[in-house]
Symmetry: C2
Subunit: 269 residues, 2 copies
Amino acid sequence: VTKEQRPDLSEHLTCAHALADASAAAILPYFRTAMAVNNKAKGRDFDPVTAADQAAEAVIAKYLKEKRPEHGIVGEEFGNHQAGARFKWVIDPIDGTRSFIIGTPMWGTLIGLLDGAEPILGIMNQPYTGERFWSDGSASFMSAPALPSPTRLATRRCPILRDAVLASTHPDIFAPGPEREAFTRVKTEAKLTRYGGDCYAYCMLAAGFVDVIIETSLQPYDVVALIPIVEHAGGRMTTWSGGSAAGGGQIVACGDPALHAKVIDLLAG
Amino acid sequence: VTKEQRPDLSEHLTCAHALADASAAAILPYFRTAMAVNNKAKGRDFDPVTAADQAAEAVIAKYLKEKRPEHGIVGEEFGNHQAGARFKWVIDPIDGTRSFIIGTPMWGTLIGLLDGAEPILGIMNQPYTGERFWSDGSASFMSAPALPSPTRLATRRCPILRDAVLASTHPDIFAPGPEREAFTRVKTEAKLTRYGGDCYAYCMLAAGFVDVIIETSLQPYDVVALIPIVEHAGGRMTTWSGGSAAGGGQIVACGDPALHAKVIDLLAG
């Protein structure tokens, strides 16, 4: 499918913004309340699912099934609705659930759209701060209460790892052994490492304040919305081996494509 | 000095809020701009001082020298002005400078007041989100754009470490050897660990969403403002050996005093 054959994306983008608005209204009443945190995982692992996730899931699924009945839906809380559809919404109601439950604003609602296997637009919505980051398929933008109008996002130049700010959600996500060693090789060279970002870090990379993000064990719904935001701001986002990031797994994003090539080499060892 | 001998704190609290307002106006124009980041540290260490720090320092020092000429000022950017004064303002214009420079809101302005060696009131101001956390010396509060009026902060009950959410700024702050082993003993038992919080994490502890914070190598200006906020919300904040936290160093804060006693024991080994 080429851009020429693709229907006008503006209608899809309007739908994505409507989903962001509706999910924000569903989620915010639960933020910083002593909501029930269910524990999906067995034993000592902690995988919280909050009432907020479920409330957002319900409004998103209802909206899409009514307004876009021919589209598929993919997500942790959604399963895989209409897996054969050409257009599939890939959604994480709360990316960064751990940040959500500790009361910080380092979480967001991820709303992405696939055309076949290709992420074509995406939104990261942070309803507490009122910030929204998105790509319309050709550029990336942010809006915020402090901004008079949406601002174009652009990554910054940073071709050298020694000058780079590295972000990752948590050091413990990397399996001991080769995976952790690969991360450590990059971390050791980088200027500064920050943890705790989740989806927020990718938006800060698109905005030109973070240079490289390295993660692992990601799901498609963790990344599909973010890929257009990063790439249409000038960055590169792939798997550690340079393939499409849309399937998740081991992910590397860089604001500067020249840095991306070097980091891929360093991760490979 | 007993509470009875202490002058009414409300005038000092008004001064603290005025400093928060003035510093916010000085800092915000620099947030998420490509401001010059000076590197104070030699070699590979990265210790950023931004133009925002310096702008906030200037307005705070000017205000205090005019309105409270008899008071001392302590802080990274201030040195130690009038070290012999009974009342000393202990100030960090931007606590969480690394979060500031990567564009996330996990930083704040810390404004504390010592009466002799005792922290008697404190503010953590987050001007980008519009959130303010403070203690008036007998209770703790927060205000935010989403709240119709200031809300009383209260820590949550969590007497058992296995149920606790642990926060710390960065795993690499702990020196390899006994210090890192002590942190790891607590981390291994805790339910969940989050990094990247700085002052914001202490406020989330005061609000009942984080249960334990463990840090090291802190300065007085990193902690003095936070001690009244944590303690008047029902928490305990001390050094790892249980002494006054006001001097900085190795710090442990817990929302539940019963948990604090257990964490102190575990840190001691």
